[in-house]
Structures are given as structure tokens and as C-alpha cells.
Symmetry: C2
Subunit: 347 residues, 2 copies
């Protein structure tokens, strides 16, 4: 990267803040030595942590903020009353052009409400979507929306498809990513009005999107498509269901290895391979959900992650900037609004 | 069981019918020697299979049917034109009191449409729900709806909660099953109108239901509640997402064991324990989804299952009958409609 990237960090968000935020920044700095951090948080808590990490200290500008958005605060209330919070100051740094992106492990709803208010939407996008990577049989895919919008209409889903497509092209580096709409069956008649209408429009529209059609729940892990599009209610439940299932399977596996003496011996031999498996299904690798659709980069880290997971969320924000994802979405939207439309408008 | 149980089988439904149906019946008969089967299917195909299984032959009455409901047939069309099909004849056997339950691995939508038409709803239930068991950290839970209703209102969800509760008490034998509503967060304000209103009613209603509140996707595998209630769109996607995730994890595990020589040696030692793990997460063990809410027992087997899986689906139908689940749901509904109501009606 040629120009220096600046990331704003909400040091006070998440279950183990500010510790994991500061140590996460230290890990991210090892991977991206040129990054500068604007850290927003309670000075008395953050300074002692920074003092222990002198190398990080040189790449950090600390801004004292006295207020913290509570993890269970109502988004609308946080938006009205949280103007002096670490979260809001970090977002404002992006809005005012002092930072290229913001990362927070705090209250998702509050972060979304503040980011929407301060960063505004990209022109042509009605609602932001939460997007994230996940591991599949074929590698990695991206899924959205993971919970920003409990209810979505066809127009929202079409916009999510477009943003997911650009994201997969730029950040995943895929040439012709396939996009699928999550549904209860693959036939045209399946599902609710929103998915059926969205599918019809994605089939007809003059977009660069390679629309695969409907996919089902088991297609997510199979990696049938590169971009899984769904409403925030279903997406949130699907991704958490998958997380819970991986956790349970891991526990079953552990108890299987404790089951007998031969199994314990087998574990000793297979330890290295199993460590690899654990890494492959480690949710920390996929930490960092992007708020797509905003005129600024905002990444939400899992609230209960550790420094390693938080560093990955920072990496997502950096990738977004380095790959110019927002500019490319903007270009794509402009191109579409100029393109001659078929029987239905492209968007 | 004192009285003899008769199960009607649609021999022609499913990817590998009639083979898996007949061999599945043979396995089920070993477990339930008193069961009698009414088998509906194409005689030329079914008879040779039965001829190879003389013990099963004695417990089977074969009814020749010439028509088969196609796997991709539209439910409404199958309902109108499929009156001579193996599926419809098998359902009619239950409707006419000649069988205690029907099992089919055929077209889910057609089976639901025909079963609803021929068996009718239980009084007080507006819509049937598809329910199934699944493995959790704590043992087994039941989830509904898994796809019968793409859209559900609060009333539907409350009725599903009640049916799931009775089902867990009777078939799972739980004394005070907990019931949770699947949502995107646990706070009261989360989710759409239907889940919020359903939660409010389940909290207030004078029902025997032990309502836990909202649960999230990761609570499914954790076994946080005994009964997971959701709409058919979300439920279908959640259960298929979990299936896909288990499959992927199993593949990752397999490739980990092939990864190196020590891992291969480890596998040899741990083989027995891993076989147990595989059994524990084998979807065939949980095969057999119940159409709850009908005045008759109808069980849907996975279309791609084998004889072992189909036998489990038959077992579910038998369990439903032995435990008198429908009578108990009927009693519960009658009791509730007579009970003095609080600020809101119980149902």
C-alpha cells in the first residue's frame, strides 16, 4: 500500500475492552506496519495498556473519551445521547476524513445507527447490510445481511446482491463471483414475495451479477455460491446456527477422543492435524463484519472475541480500504443507473 | 403396545423408492414386531422386493397403485390430479381409519397439501407445522416449523409452541419442557412483529408452557430449550444450515486425518470413538419430520435417505401413535379453550 492508512478504534466496545482492542491493534500492526491508529477511549484505562506496547505506541494517537455506549443500550437512545462516546468519536473520525475506517466490538445496533447517521448511505443504496466471510468446502464465501435489517423487500435484496458481488470481486479477488438468494427450495415458486421478486429482477436485470438462483441452507457451507444474499433475520439466525453447530461438533469430537484409551492415544498422533482443523473452523478467523452500503468503512468485531480476533477485524477494514471497495460499489451503482434498462429497471 | 399398530407407507416416494421403503419397513419390523404395514405402490416394482423379505411379507398388505406424485410436482396440482397416487392412497388409509399413520419420502409440499385436505386440522389449530428432533449438547430437542409455512403470524407461532410443548412431553417424555422463540437477539425489542407479539402472548397466556423467551441461532445446538419455535422460512434454512455445517466439518475432519502419517496412525487408534461421533451426528437418526396439527399422523422422511433412515421415520410415526400425541394435543387445546383467560386469551 502506498498511502498510509488510518483506522479509528473504539477502545471501549466489547466484553473484554479495552484490553483486546489494544492488543488486537498490536497484532494488526505486525501484519500492516504502515497503519496508524486513532484510539478513542478512557485514557486512564487505555494509557497503561499502551505503555506496555512501546512499538504500538508510536503508531497510535490516543483521544480521551469519557463515555461508553452500554452493550445493551437501545440504538435510538445511543444515537441521541452517545455523542461523547468512544464509539461515536471513532465513527466521526471517519465521517470527517481523519480515518479511513472504524472498528468496534461494541453494541451492534448502536454502531449501525451511529454509522448510518454520521457516514450516510452510498447513493442508490437504501439500507446498509452486515456482511461477513465464512468458510466453505470451496474456500471462503461472503454472506449478507447478517442482522442489520429484520425485514427486507425485493429492492433491498437486489441491492445487497450488487454490493456483495462487488465485495467478492474486490476483497476476495474473484473474477466472476456467483450470487445466490437463500430460500426454502430451489424452484421458482418457493419462498416469500420478497425473494421471488428479487430473483426475478436479478435474472432480468442488466447487471454484471452472475446470478445463480435460489440456494438452500445446506448450500451455505457447501460453497455453492460465492455470495449468499438474505434478509437480516434469516441471515443472523443462519450464521449463528452454523457457529453453534461447529461448537457442538467440536465438543462431540473432544469427548470422542476422551472416550477410551485407544482414542486418547489416537489423539496424541493426530494432534497436529486436529489443530489445523480447529484453526480452519475457528470463528476468530472470520471475525469482522462489514457494514456495506455506507459512505465509509465501518467494521463490527464480535463482542466476545480476543485480541487475535480483533486484529482480524482490523484487517478487514484495511482490506476494504486497500481494495477501494466503496469506490467500486459507487462506480457500479453509477454505471447501472446510466445503463439502458430491460423490461425492469436494473436496480 | 397392546393394540396392533398399522402404518401406511407410500412406497413410491423418495429418490431411491421403492427399495429403501421396503427395506426400511423390514428394519422397522425388527424393532416393532407387532406393526402391520399397508404398502401403496406399483405392484410390479414392490412385489419382487417383498418376495426377498418373507418375514416382512407376512406383515404387509400390498395395494397396487399406478400413479406416482413427481418430486417436483406443484402441491396444488398434485392435490387435484394425484388422487390415484400411492401417496394419496396411503394418506386416505389414515383418513379412513384403516391405518394409524402414514410415512412418505416423497414431495413434501404435495404430502402436506394432501394430508391437510384428507386428514383435516385439529380443532383450534390454523396451520400444520413440520416438526423434527435434532441433537444438542443436552440430548435432543424438537424444532418447528421446518418449512410448512413460509410466513407465520403470532397466532401461528403460539399454536406451534403449544403443539411442540405437548410433543416434547409425550414423545421426548420431558416433564416440564422449555419453549423458546427463535430470534435475532434475546431482548424484548428484537425481531419482527410476529415474534414480538407471540412472545408477549406466551408470557401472559395461561398455558402449561414453560416459556423461556427468545433464543438465538447458536442456542439451537446448545440445547438451551427443549422446543424451538420459528416460522417455516427461518426454520427450514436453520436446519439445513446446521446439516450442511455438520457435513462440512465431517469432511474437514476426514481430510485432517489424511493429512499426515501421524494423523493416519491416530485415526487407526481413534476409529471406534470416531465411529461413535459419526453416529451421533448422523442425520439418519433424526429422520422423520412430523406434520403436527393434523387430525392424523403423517411423517415425512428425507427424500434422499436410505433404508435405515426410512425405518427411523416409521419409528417416529409409531411413537406418535403409542404416546397418543394427537389426543394429548386435542385435550390441551380443549382445556385451554375452557380455561379462564388473563388479559389476553390463552390462544
Amino acid at each position: 500500500m502506498s498511502e498510509r492508512i488510518t483506522i479509528a478504534l473504539d477502545a471501549m466496545g466489547g466484553d473484554r475492552a479495552p484490553g483486546i482492542v489494544v492488543r488486537g491493534a498490536e497484532i494488526a500492526l505486525q501484519r500492516h506496519p504502515d497503519v496508524h491508529f486513532l484510539v478513542f477511549g478512557v485514557e486512564d484505562e487505555v494509557s497503561p495498556l499502551l505503555a506496555k506496547l512501546p512499538r504500538l505506541g508510536k503508531s497510535v494517537t490516543l483521544h480521551h473519551t469519557s463515555e461508553v455506549v452500554a452493550g445493551d443500550a437501545k440504538p435510538s437512545l445511543a444515537l441521541r445521547t452517545g455523542r461523547q462516546s468512544s464509539m461515536r468519536f471513532a465513527i466521526d473520525a471517519v465521517a470527517e476524513g481523519r480515518a479511513d475506517g472504524v472498528v468496534s466490538a461494541g453494541n451492534t445496533g448502536a454502531l449501525m445507527a451511529m454509522a448510518k447517521f454520521a457516514l450516510k448511505m452510498l447513493p442508490g443504496i437504501d439500507r446498509p447490510a452486515i456482511a461477513s466471510f465464512f468458510p466453505t468446502r470451496r474456500g471462503e464465501s461472503v454472506m449478507l445481511d447478517l442482522g442489520a435489517n429484520v425485514e427486507c423487500d425485493a429492492e433491498n435484496l437486489v441491492q445487497f446482491a450488487l454490493m456483495g458481488d462487488v465485495f467478492a470481486r474486490t476483497v476476495l479477488g474473484l473474477i466472476e463471483p456467483t450470487v445466490g438468494l437463500l430460500n426454502v427450495g430451489s424452484e421458482d415458486l418457493k419462498g416469500n414475495d420478497a425473494v421471488r421478486e428479487a430473483a426475478a429482477r436479478l435474472r432480468e436485470a442488466i447487471t454484471p451479477i452472475h446470478f445463480y438462483g435460489f440456494i438452500e441452507g445446506d448450500d451455505i457451507a457447501a460453497g455453492t455460491v460465492d455470495v449468499v444474499v438474505t434478509d437480516g433475520f434469516t441471515g443472523n439466525i443462519a450464521v449463528k446456527t452454523a457457529e453453534g453447530t461447529v461448537k457442538l461438533f467440536g465438543e462431540f469430537l473432544e469427548s470422542a477422543f476422551r472416550h477410551s484409551l485407544p482414542a486418547r492415544i489416537g489423539y496424541l498422533f493426530a494432534r497436529g492435524a486436529l489443530r489445523k482443523l480447529r484453526m480452519r473452523s475457528d470463528p476468530r478467523h472470520y471475525n469482522g463484519a462489514i457494514f456495506l452500503g455506507l459512505s465509509g468503512i465501518a467494521v463490527k468485531s464480535h463482542g466476545s472475541t480476543d485480541a487475535f480476533g480483533f486484529a482480524n477485524a482490523i484487517g478487514v477494514a484495511i482490506d476494504m480500504k486497500v481494495n477501494g471497495v466503496l469506490d467500486k460499489i459507487r462506480d457500479e451503482l453509477a454505471r447501472l443507473s446510466e445503463a439502458p434498462s430491460a423490461s425492469e429497471p436494473a436496480l
